[in-house]
Symmetry: C2
Subunit: 548 residues, 2 copies
């Protein structure tokens, strides 16, 4: 059987757009003489639809769309994901389902059995799990149909198994020799290697052919890298699609073949690609074509602008430089150079006069705050007002430029530099910001070298440097990773070799600034734990008292 693996980029709720795209890929699969074309999880609606699933009209529209698709496709079998209703009067009202149809008939259907409820996932909120593990005969193969998490409970791979049943093992017991898995598996750096090894090991262990089709693109902050794969029954990868690109690849169960497309080589490469695709998709799926970025002369805003140019094109990016009395000449020069290198439009709006006016009006209330934190925040917020005015007036989406290290410890101003529709690098630690900046400059200098090499500064008071307020980023970033990504506690982090008082201060700052992050724009997830819907912390809590 010749199988097309079609990884496409659906838009949440845009049933017309999604099925038109599917139809185009079905035609391509037919042109490649395929017997079967496989699409990803919930491809009809896009993944994740979140609480749209609680709307009857949404579920109905998804079912009607599938019905039309079943009726209109001829000459090829199609496997795809959709939302089904649970016909029973007990349990959650929906199923996360997969269907195989051909010539107007549904030949087989299965419901997702293992429903993830960790990190960004909320599937137990909507779906009742499937409880069947049948395999069925189709065009010479005995197929076991599964959805994403269904194949992620192997006892030889997971030391802590989240579920008591292994659907894959059950389908193999029932005779499956071809496992098809449709997925919407969110990206984070380092995950693809784990996934490839897991899929290879499973297919080898059970001596089954395995086809895995993953969604591509960004939906809000959650990104999908595609890299659909096929493995023969010896566990050898015989087909692999590109990362972060819509694509169709072909795999023949009858013939030895090899179609391995290149993917990003390093984590840094894949993160850059993820950020570009994530930015493009967020901007365009929200109905915008243009973006604005505040430029400070520093590396964070320079990297954000470089990503923006790759995402939506230089003609659609406006840089905004907003100098104050504390802005250095170097920052101005580097901003001009960056804008020139990127070929983007640059607007300049000084904030000194506005800042003075604020200080004047506030002086009856309190005096001498220019360089205090209050005064620094006012400067950052004036910039926020200007950026939002430009965004309003020019109809462009504002990208915020803060990195994960800053956001973690609250070294940023709510309604100031945190303003924007999308926080492009808010899941990128500062040490990775530097690696990405070097990668952007790989072929020629885009980001001025001085922006990368100078000591980072917010330039909100004279002689201010990040390192006066924060530990060096090479120390801060691993502490943050241990605390935020790995959920380690104070004592464990100290045991890793870090200074007690540094760890205590970092933890306190992370906890104390939860309120800022709650009001941050959505950010693009590239690590195992990003702020946003995958990390759900209370604000009014006192657990930090346990540091003593």
């Amino acid at each position: 059987m010749k199988i097309a693996l079609a990884q496409i980029n659906p838009t949440i709720g845009d049933f017309k757009h999604n099925t038109e795209k599917m139809m185009a890929y079905i035609e391509r699969a037919k042109g490649l003489s395929c017997d079967l074309v496989v699409f990803s999880e919930l491809v009809i609606s896009g993944y994740p639809p979140r609480d749209l699933l609680e709307r009857e009209d949404f579920v109905t529209a998804n079912l009607e769309t599938l019905r039309k698709l079943v009726d209109s496709v001829k000459g090829i079998g199609v496997i795809c994901g959709f939302v089904d209703r649970n016909p029973r009067r007990e349990g959650k009202p929906l199923h996360n389902s997969v269907v195989l149809f051909e010539e107007g008939k549904v030949l087989h259907q299965a419901h997702k059995r293992l429903l993830p409820a960790y990190d960004v996932f909320d599937e137990t909120r909507y779906f009742e799990p499937g409880t069947e593990y049948t395999a069925f005969f189709y065009k010479g193969c005995t197929i076991g149909l599964s959805i994403c998490e269904d194949i992620c409970n192997d006892k030889d791979i997971f030391s802590r198994r989240l579920y008591s049943v292994d659907p894959l093992a059950r389908m193999v017991e029932n005779g499956a020799d071809l496992i098809i898995n449709i997925a919407a598996s969110p990206f984070h750096a380092g995950k693809r290697e784990f996934k490839r090894d897991m899929l290879g090991n499973i297919s080898k262990k059970y001596k089954v052919t395995l086809v895995y089709v993953n969604q591509v693109g960004g939906n809000d902050g959650v990104l999908f890298d595609g890299i659909s794969m096929a493995f023969d029954s010896r566990g050898i990868m015989t087909a692999q699609a590109s990362d972060f690109e819509e694509e169709i690849i072909v795999f023949d169960t009858e013939r030895e073949s090899r179609d391995i497309r290149p993917i990003s080589e390093t984590d840094t490469d894949s993160i850059l690609k993820a950020l570009v695709i994530g930015t493009r998709d967020y901007v365009q799926k929200c109905g915008f074509s243009k973006v604005a970025v505040g430029l400070s002369g520093g590396v964070d805003s320079a990297l954000t602008a470089s990503i923006a140019v790759r995402a939506v094109g230089k003609e659609n990016v406006t840089g905004v430089f907003m100098p104050s009395q504390y802005t250095s000449r170097e920052s101005f020069e580097d901003t001009l150079k960056l804008a020139g290198n990127l070929g983007i439009n640059l607007i300049q709006v000084p904030i000194t006069g506005i800042f003075k006016k604020f200080l004047q009006e506030l002086s009856p209330v309190f005096e001498g705050i220019a360089t205090e934190v209050t005064g620094q925040n006012i400067q950052a917020r004036i910039r926020g007002v200007i950026l939002m005015a430009i965004s309003n007036k020019l109809g462009c989406l504002l990208l915020s430029t803060g990195n994960k290290s800053e956001l973690s410890v609250g070294y940023c101003t709510l309604y100031g530099d945190m303003s924007g529709g999308l926080a492009v690098i808010s899941d990128v630690p500062k040490t990775m910001v530097y690696r990405l900046a070097h990668l952007v400059n790989k072929e020629k200098e885009i980001i001025p070298r001085r922006s990368i090499e100078k000591p980072p500064s917010a330039e909100l008071k004279p002689g201010q440097f990040d390192q006066d307020d924060l530990p060096p980023y090479e120390i801060l970033d691993p502490i943050l990773k241990a605390y935020i990504e790995d959920n380690k506690g104070f004592r464990e982090i100290v045991a890793m070799g870090f200074d007690r008082s540094t760890v205590k201060e970092v933890i306190r700052r992370v906890d104390r600034n939860e309120y800022k992050r709650r009001q941050a724009p959505p950010g693009l997830k590239v690590t195992t734990k990003s702020f946003g819907c995958g990390r759900r912390y209370p604000i009014a809590q006192r657990f930090l008292a346990v540091l003593q």
Copy 2:
């Protein structure tokens, strides 16, 4: 058996504070010659701890706290909720548990069987469900221990049952004659009547005595009203605690008794109480004592300030009036009057000069924007900057003043009037704002009558009124309720009798403004569906196309 129902207000993660409070209530129960004292769900840690549950150190601290409590209490039995580890290597790592201990020994333990995953709940994210339904003999009763949702799956009450098992029925089959339910059941207006009827019906149907103990207080935006209750085996309520107050009430299984404390009479009464308690708890649990409120002369900010005064005391509330060239004399007079009536400090900071300066600096970029939406947003954001400066400098938490109707349709400015640490009335529809304002004025005029009676206006351009941009609130609010709380679609809402184009425009505005709400401060939940963690909508989605 004489049972004390102890409803207390724990702080998330403050194990020391929570157990000190428990110890005080245990002593009170002993003073009342009780045999047993019952506390609410997860009372040791406070509910909901959310992703703190993913931290080993948090779970350990909670277990150590329970251990100390078990060791130290003498002379009375104690039932309370805590987080336990799941000893099995499969399934979620934790249990939501209830324990009965006495004289240093744990006599019985049960795990919550039904784990809610709807609205604000995320229990399947952390907990493995219990699968046992035993009843056990203790001091003359055969007790069935249950936790909150465990008793919410009766087939005669719920037409759509979310779970396939009814733990209550199973415990009764196993001989239970006393059902004890410990809960953390979030408040919304109208829920208490449903809950009281359900509990009464269950106890009558199974001829069991029923004791229900609910948490009190606010944790972030989720509020708990207490109203712990006891029912005899005829389904008659024999004890009821107050709403929104820490309290202990006593119920004797052996003696006819009646101890019914008064609770708020109307929905409006209970919402006002909820908002006051919610504000107080958020402010104080976040470590603040003082708050600031921007006052406009309108009813929303007047109501918010009135709530603030009840929550934290007039000496801790600062009002801020920020007039522009579009501010009316009436608004100024009404603000002075309100501040006088409330007895709060009033700061005045004009924005006209700052606004002019912004327009001047932005004029090279674009001209003549003073009264356009861009210019209106700049005014709102200048006020945001001033309010945050005052919050920074004076160390007070800023309360935002927007209502649910505005927030739903985006009739508000992100980083402007939406700024703050807590959005006090963001789940209160405008029509309810008026009812609450009248309630505040019940005994004497606090909110100036003109603030309530004048047509609402943002005063961001000459002659601007809400009703120029929005349908009348008596039309808008029911459409919003149908769409947001009841998940009705376009056609269903039109079928309720509303104008097609009005409904279409309202739905479009709700959808289009998801990005603003994502960056809103936490709000106090008082309806069945508030914005925030209980409503999880994608931003980049195109389902609105289905309105045609």
